[in-house]
Amino acid sequence: MISLSRRQWLQWGGATALALSGGPLAADESPERVWRIFMVLGRGEGANEAGFKDYLARRGMKVEYTIRNAGGDPGRIAEILKEIKDVCPDLIYTWGTPQTRGVAGTWDDPRRCDHIRDIPVVFTFVAAPLDARIVRNLERPGGNVTGTIHIAPVEAQVNTILAYRSIQRLAVVYNPAERNSLLAVEGLRADWNRRGLTLIEAPTPLTDGKPNPDDLPGLLASCRDQGAEMLYIGPDTFIATTHRKLVADTALELRLPTFSVTELIVRSERALFALSSSSYGIGRLTGVKAARILLEGQAPGDIPVETLRRFSVVINMATARALSCYPPLSLLNFAEVVGL
């Protein structure tokens, strides 16, 4: 079994915790200044945005927020881009890989002028900004973009899965239309195969480039039939956010334990466990970066892309009881338990 020490859990990330706890709290500018921040979200505000706004408020900043939801629709992004260019805000906050790529583009995109190049962009909830070509380098992203990563490194995810159960066959259900999902599965495949284990990949069928939720129950059942011992849910909006209830309930019916890299499906639905950073904490960290740009005048390209130092294991105990699939003591000792 892969052993996993508490230290291993805690060593990821940089000086993030310091950045969150320290720093001057007084407003650095005149109290009259009202900052205009444009938020491009997927499906409305959540804990991420609450953390972001709370942090800036704590720094004494008066902010006027404009909030737009793209909902994964590329057509909406074009409209939003046009609006941004008209409004010309002080900073743009983007949630998720599609929105971030839609607003900031990729660094190697030949049609660079279509995207925002002159307004600072701070992204969050992007799983793999390097692979998605949003930034060239995490330490020095360059250009007008910086932000935060919300998921743990894949090695840590796999260690957590194997710490819970020493399994051989893991199934991953994902939406191949989402670039972040494809990248996440690629990373998972490399790590899982390196350990000599079997990965069962189940992409959702696409009709006109779009997945259909009605296919999900059949897809999960076929994973079960292929001998999957656990289900992996990546940073996939379609699976982990939009249809999370359907996925979690079907998996439970099939008696398939579910691991997720984001916590919502464990907290609000009945997926078994997650290794995640708190959305609120990630939002605050994103706020730190925005404040460095607006208050301290740093260039976004000089501010490293970071993730939180601390990830927590969240276990849904009601699901564990229903599956008779209990966490080992070593994992339970520092897990957050929900669903009592």
Binding site: R165, A320, S324, Y326, P328, L329, S330, L340
Partner: protein
């Protein structure tokens, strides 16, 4: 040996005082040991209770979540991990209310009471595992009754070795104090008092101690510095400091003898001790391997000159008739330092670190110089009668160079050097100074423990050496003793292969010292015989013999570490033992047929 009434009195006084000291210390040590056990046991229980409480808290949390203990994964692993962190806990188990064992790690000693909760033995700690105020199961922690015995055994060894050091140091000081007070009587004739060689012991003892302190950690210390010289293979980095030390020491002897004769033994000793103190100080301060090597060489130069100067004092102030007893005083101080140094050095290094120990050594070297000045005052000034004038010295040196070819052509001398003396020195420097500290340090032994084991060599040597010398002389079988000593070296080292390494190493080093003690004196006797046969001065023959022996000894660390790199520390030690055994056998065969009875036993 001591017909002088003062000496007899000194001897008796010292014996009585030391006996008293030993008795009192044994009593104190024994009672300390008893109270150690009494005081330690409740502490052990208290600590185990803390461990149990922490474990129970974790398991209670799982119970509170409604996880049945029979379905809780990783329970045994958690128990095992906790037990592994505490050497004194032998058994941890979760037991159902009906006594059934749900998870367990480690075997409970059979002689403890049957696992009955109501009659929990004093070695058991039982903690209820509860959920919602209801006891669901019990956690049982069992202390290892053997652990306490082992711990007090270790402590006893420690106390015993420290006692030995204390007694030896007391002996040195007593000897000096008594002699000082007795020789203050005015001389009747008014003539200058002859130099009392007992006064030489303390400076020599202190000076040797300064170097012996670093025995337990020197190779491991060099190993730490190895990364600062990436161009040097690590094996070489470890052995080179000892090899260079031996080499510089050996080569400094002829020069040191002439130098100290010219400027006076006292001046030479003080200057050399100062040099050694500088060397030790800089060794302590440097963090670079190259500089470390240079300062070790400087220390070796000081060490070599100081010892040859001190030996010169002993030779200058004795007649050929009482030279042996004069040199015995000198060698006694060397061996006493050999016993005290590693133990004391190990303790200091464990508490304050190797650098601090080296600085203490530097202080001791200065103290040795100060002691010599205070005790001898002006009596060691170069005087024409005592110190050899330079023309004579150079004549002697010239004679030496002509002596060597004659010695080298003698097959017996060659056999003695090549088959017995050099292998023995290789074993001493390679195993005792190099392999033992490296091997034990790798096994996690404290430096004091390493020092204790190194001490056993010198202890065995002190005890056996005089006996072996007189028996070899009485039975007229030096050759036989050298053979038996060589084979005993091989046999004695075999316990190194025992699985319980600390005891195996201790036994091996004790036996090794014993075996080496058998051959030292017989070797010297044979050198004097050869010198007489081929008509070269005995002193020159011994000088050459010592020089060649030490040059060979310089190879010891190189050979030992090279063998260890190929095999392992244990096998390298056995390999060197084999070299000694085979060498001794070869020596016995080659030296065969020499008429030994035809030659005089003693030096002229």
């Amino acid at each position: 040996m001591n017909r002088d009434p003062i000496r007899a009195l000194v001897f008796r006084l010292t014996a009585v005082t030391v006996a008293l000291l030993v008795a009192l210390s044994l009593l104190a040590g024994w009672s300390a040991l008893r109270s150690f056990e009494q005081a330690l046991f409740p502490e052990l229980r208290l600590k185990a209770a803390g461990v149990a409480e922490e474990l129970a808290r974790q398991i209670d949390r799982a119970l509170d979540y409604g996880i049945p203990l029979t379905e809780l994964p990783g329970l045994t692993e958690t128990l095992a991990r906790e037990a592994a962190e505490h050497a004194d806990i032998v058994h941890v188990a979760v037991e159902a209310p009906d006594g059934r064992i749900l998870a367990a790690h480690g075997a409970r000693p059979a002689w403890l009471a049957a696992p009955d909760r109501d009659a929990a033995s004093e070695y058991d700690i039982l903690t209820p595992l509860t959920s919602g105020g209801v006891t669901q199961a019990w956690l049982r922690l069992s202390l290892d009754p053997g652990w306490l015995t082992r711990a007090s055994g270790d402590l006893m060894l420690e106390v015993a070795s420290e006692l030995l050091v204390a007694v030896l140091i007391t002996f040195e000081i007593l000897l000096l104090v008594v002699h000082l007070s007795l020789t203050r009587r005015p001389t009747r004739t008014g003539a200058p008092r002859p130099v009392n060689l007992v006064f030489l012991r303390l400076p020599v003892f202190l000076f040797c101690l300064s170097e012996e302190l670093s025995r337990p950690f020197m190779p491991a210390y060099a190993q730490q510095l190895a990364p600062t010289a990436p161009w040097l293979p690590v094996d070489l980095a470890v052995s080179l400091p000892i090899t260079l030390f031996m080499l510089v020491w050996a080569l400094s002897q002829p020069f040191g003898a002439r130098f100290s004769g010219r400027i006076g033994r006292g001046h030479a000793f003080v200057a050399a001790a100062g040099l050694a103190a500088i060397g030790l100080t800089m060794t302590a301060l440097t963090e670079d391997l190259l500089a470390f090597l240079v300062w070790r060489c400087v220390t070796a130069l000081g060490y070599g000159i100081a010892l040859i100067a001190a030996q010169g004092v002993a030779v200058d102030h004795t007649t050929p008739a009482d030279r042996a007893s004069g040199l015995a005083l000198f060698i006694g101080a060397l061996l006493a330092a050999g016993v005290c140094g590693p133990v004391a050095g190990g303790i200091v290094a464990d508490q304050a670190g190797p650098s601090a120990t080296l600085l203490v050594g530097a202080g001791l070297a200065l103290a040795a110089a100060a002691a010599l000045v205070l005790l001898f005052g002006r009596s060691l000034r170069p005087v024409p009668s005592a110190a050899a004038p330079s023309p004579a010295a150079s004549a002697a040196a010239a004679a030496r160079t002509r002596i060597f070819p004659r010695l080298a052509r003698d097959p017996r001398f060659a056999a003695l050097i090549l088959c017995s003396a050099i292998p023995a020195k290789i074993a001493a420097t390679g195993i005792l100074f190099c392999l033992i500290p490296l091997m034990l340090a790798e096994q996690g032994a404290a430096k004091a423990e390493i020092g204790r084991i190194q001490m056993l060599y010198f202890l065995a040597f002190i005890i056996v050496s005089p006996l072996a010398a007189s028996l070899a002389d009485r039975w007229r079988t030096q050759r036989g003793f050298i053979l038996v000593g060589g084979l005993a070296t091989l046999a004695g080292l075999t316990p190194m292969a025992l699985p319980d390494a600390a005891w195996g190493a201790a036994l091996a080093i004790g036996l090794f010292g014993l075996a080496q003690a058998m051959i030292g004196a017989p070797q010297l006797t044979l050198v004097t015989r050869i010198a007489a046969r081929i008509e070269v001065p005995e002193i020159a023959a011994i000088g050459w013999y010592r020089l060649l022996e030490r040059l060979g000894g310089a190879l010891g660390p190189l050979l030992a570490v090279a063998l260890a790199a190929i095999w392992s520390y244990r096998e390298a030690a056995l390999g060197i033992g084999l070299l000694c055994g085979l060498g001794a056998l070869l020596f016995w065969l080659v030296y065969r047929g020499t008429p030994s009875a035809a030659l005089s036993e003693n030096s002229p």
